[in-house]
């Protein structure tokens, strides 16, 4: 082993080392991040609270049933978050409503991920005319203000949980497409991809075996952060009355309902908002942790 290694050799050694243990390394870094761990704990608490809510509350009895003698009760032991204008327990509704936020967040991101990433990878890998077409279409969708686009889509396809997921998902496609393309383009230039080509691998083999796995890191980070964003956008649409139909206890919708009562019963707007914020915060913390863990440059 020569003492004075030339630069490429050194890189090759490092690269091999890194590839083998990349995920282990990411997990190791991730575990060390206090923020990410806080995020995970919050998320677990929120998720399990929502799951428990699923078992202890009955949709008809506890979530939508109105009791007029219980209207507008301030937070107390019996109703930790108070009751709303129909006498429904806000705590129960918030626990139950978590499912909407989570499902919209996750499904929307799956939609934007699968469409956006595929297009981005194809564009970044093949280049040329294909890339041009894909990126110009992306430009068009990216240049329409996303909230307005989402509103137009919900107007076009009617109001339901599915449409909400779709609208929020479509709006996120350009971002994924761009991230994926950029990521693929950096990977395409790497030596090992050239090596694979030189070794006679077919395009799709190179794509699946080398390019996709190696360009995933920024996309995964993007996924996490987009889930947070999607939850906010979705609850915003519900806030505007375009989201999950009543009486489903979607957080944004509850917030919107509380607006009319904001003067004397501000707790009605306080708690749903808090629920959104805490959830999004937890996901953002995890996203940040993942990004730091995956970005070798940020390590000291």
């Amino acid at each position: 082993m020569p003492i004075i290694q030339n630069e490429t050799d050194k890189k090759a050694v490092i690269k091999r080392y890194k590839r083998r243990s990349m995920w282990a390394e990411v997990w190791r870094n991730f575990k060390k991040s206090k923020g990410a761990m806080t995020g995970i704990i919050i998320l677990i608490v929120v998720l399990s609270a929502c799951t428990i809510g699923e078992f202890i509350y009955d949709y008809h009895e506890d979530i939508v049933k109105q009791s007029f003698d219980q209207r507008l009760l301030r937070p107390s032991w019996k109703h930790p978050f108070g009751t709303d204008q129909y006498g429904r327990d806000i705590f129960a509704r918030i626990l139950y409503g978590g499912r909407y936020s989570f499902s919209v967040g996750v499904v929307a991101v799956i939609i934007s991920f699968s469409i956006g990433t595929t297009l981005g990878i194809v564009a970044g890998y093949y280049g040329g005319v294909i890339e041009n077409i894909i990126m110009r279409i992306t430009d068009v969708f990216a240049s329409i203000p996303s909230v307005l686009l989402a509103i137009a889509i919900t107007a076009a396809f009617g109001q339901s949980l599915l449409v909400l997921m779709f609208a929020v998902g479509v709006v996120g496609v350009p971002a994924f497409c761009r991230v994926a393309r950029a990521s693929v383009m950096t990977v395409v230039g790497q030596e090992y991809v050239e090596a694979a080509h030189a070794a006679g691998a077919k395009n799709w083999q190179v794509l699946i075996r080398h390019i996709v796995p190696n360009s995933m890191a920024p996309i995964i980070v993007q996924c996490t952060l987009r889930v947070a964003q999607a939850i906010i956008t979705a609850s915003g649409l519900s806030f505007l009355g375009l989201g999950v139909p009543t009486p489903s206890p979607e957080w944004g919708g509850m917030l919107s309902d509380g607006r009319a009562y904001i003067r004397d019963y501000s707790y009605m707007t306080m708690f749903p908002g808090l629920a959104i914020m805490i959830t999004v915060l937890a996901i953002n913390l995890i996203g940040d942790g993942l990004r730091d863990a995956m970005d070798p440059k940020l390590k000291r």
């Binding site: 049933k65 109001q159 009355g241 009543t246 009319a260 009562y261 003067r263 004397d264």
Partner: protein, 519 residues
């Protein structure tokens, strides 16, 4: 600021003293204008009055728009031929000084002389002819002017309106802001957009920042005398809570529809007065009787029996609405007090079982995305759950909603409102319940109803008509396609010293005489 205020207060105290001494308050408009020789004791008025309605002013097109706020503004910028006296009832002259039925199908209108348009031209019979003939072609005025065949000019200040069919309600229809008199000259010389801004009313358009505010300036040459208030601003504050805050902080003078839950703030504030006027709008649940299972009258009746109207009034309106049982508005001359459907769960369940749905069924109820509409749907959903009917609520924005529940469409139930009663009994019932009626989205078709409606409209004897309409009301209510919930209240918070306010005409506010004396 405070110094000028103090001065004004002093000045006003002096004025008040004077008026007390002279023994008459400056309430009649003729006396409020001061003679030239008088001392500077003239009553001062607040220069600008700011009004915040619930919905924004959207259009200047008088014959096209249906927006309530726009129509309220039209009553300030324009005049109609005849005006409704919303305080005492009946009709009062406006641009027409008098009118009479000169033959079976001809109305003669004597027009007011010396009336000027905002552009300085005189108002004449030409303008009336132009307005009505133009209006027969335009979206919103068309329905009101339908029964008019043509307009004949007798002389500059006399017109004959010739009817194509008998219409007992035509005078009321002419009071609608969609029928305000436009300037023929303006439409011939200006662009349509500009021409729509020329009226004969007490105020002129000044500045419109769409979505923000509309400013109106008083018209010095107004035929009833120069208005007391110099400027009226219609400010757009869509959020009810903010609207009320603006009233409390003094930034606006009239707040329409503050949040019902917060009405106590107005009642508690000595500077503010809460006005609650029974409105024209009847909130109801519409059922599509052409669709299974709603084609079975027992199902509809079961639903009708399971509605707890008191619950609605409390949860949706915070008590600020009146429970309603009839398909006709109580403000209508032909309204009959009927029993309607009682809240009776047992009976409802029995009816359902009889109809073959002992375990209920599921259906969808549509509402627009308005707060009240959504709330009504939500409460309805909860109440129907009691008898095993599983309702899904769909809140749609206006366009989608209107298209979804349009006559002939395939919806189950909807939350709707109907304020068409101000224009007379035939209009009210025919639109809703006549086979193929413009608003008959219940899929409702009943020979008896059609026959009786046709009969009633051609009879001129009031008592006979009353009897027929009374029977109709009872019959239609029984059919349970239109389930009335409540008559909505128009809530308004105003400055306590606001004067010149008259009750609205249906949902259309009449603000042209408002003023605030400064004391």
């Amino acid at each position: 600021m405070s110094k000028t205020k103090k001065n004004i207060v002093l000045l006003l105290l002096a004025c008040l003293l004077m008026s007390v001494l002279s023994g008459c308050a400056p309430s009649s408009s003729e006396q409020s204008d001061v003679g030239p020789s008088e001392e500077p004791q003239e009553t001062a008025y607040q220069k600008t009055i700011v009004i915040a309605p619930a919905l924004d002013f959207v259009s200047t097109e008088t014959q096209v728009t249906t927006s309530g706020t726009s129509k309220s503004v039209f009553l300030m910028v324009f005049n109609t031929l005849v005006e409704q006296d919303t305080e005492k009832g009946g009709l009062i002259p406006s641009l027409a000084e008098s009118w009479e039925l000169v033959s079976d199908d001809t109305w003669e209108f004597k027009l007011r002389r010396g009336v000027k348009f905002h552009d300085g031209t005189d108002f004449t019979a030409e303008d009336v002819k132009f307005t009505i003939e133009r209006g027969k072609e335009q979206g919103a005025s068309k329905a009101k002017l339908e029964s008019i065949k043509r307009v004949e000019i007798v002389d500059d200040y006399t017109v004959h309106i010739i009817m194509s069919k008998p219409d007992v309600d035509i005078l009321y229809k002419l009071t609608d802001p969609n029928c305000v008199i436009l300037s023929k000259n303006a439409f011939e010389t200006l662009s349509e957009e500009e021409a729509y801004k020329i009226g004969t009313g007490p105020y002129t358009y000044n500045r419109w920042e769409q979505g923000d505010y509309l400013s109106l300036l008083r018209f010095e040459d107004y035929w009833e005398g120069t208005p007391k208030t110099e400027e009226i601003v219609i400010r757009n504050i869509p959020e009810a809570a903010s609207r009320l805050i603006a009233l409390q902080t003094g930034e606006i003078d009239i707040c329409i529809s503050p949040p019902q839950i917060d009405l106590h703030y107005i009642a508690e504030d000595p500077n503010l007065t809460l006005l609650q006027i029974p409105g024209a709008n009847c909130r109801y649940i519409g059922i599509n009787s052409s669709k299974k299972p709603f084609n079975d009258i027992r199902v509809r009746q079961a639903i009708a029996h399971s509605i707890n109207r008191k619950g609605f009034v409390e949860a949706v309106y915070e008590g600020n609405a009146t429970v309603h049982n009839n398909v006709m508005h109580p403000g209508n001359l032909f309204y009959k007090e009927i029993e309607g459907y009682s809240y009776d769960k047992e009976k409802a369940l029995a009816l359902l079982a009889e109809a073959g749905y002992p375990n209920g069924f599921s259906a969808t109820i549509y509402s627009s995305s308005g707060t009240v509409q959504k709330a009504v749907a939500t409460v309805m959903q909860a109440q129907m759950a009691e008898i095993g009917i599983d309702l899904e609520v769909q809140s749609l924005e206006t366009a989608t909603f209107n298209a979804t529940v349009a006559p002939g469409s395939d919806y189950d139930m909807c939350v709707n409102g109907w304020g068409g009663y101000v224009v007379g009994p035939d209009n009210a019932l025919r639109n809703m319940f006549y086979t193929g009626g413009n608003n008959n989205n219940f899929g409702f078709s009943d020979e008896y109803v059609d026959k009786t409606l046709d009969e009633a409209v051609s009879i001129s004897d009031i008592e006979t008509r009353k009897k027929l309409y009374g029977e109709l009301q009872e019959y239609i209510t029984n059919q349970a396609v239109f389930l009335p919930i409540a008559i909505e209240m128009i809530d308004m918070g105003v400055k306590s010293d606001l004067e010149g306010f008259v009750p609205p005409q249906g949902s259309i506010q009449k603000f042209k005489n408002v003023y605030i004396p400064i004391e």
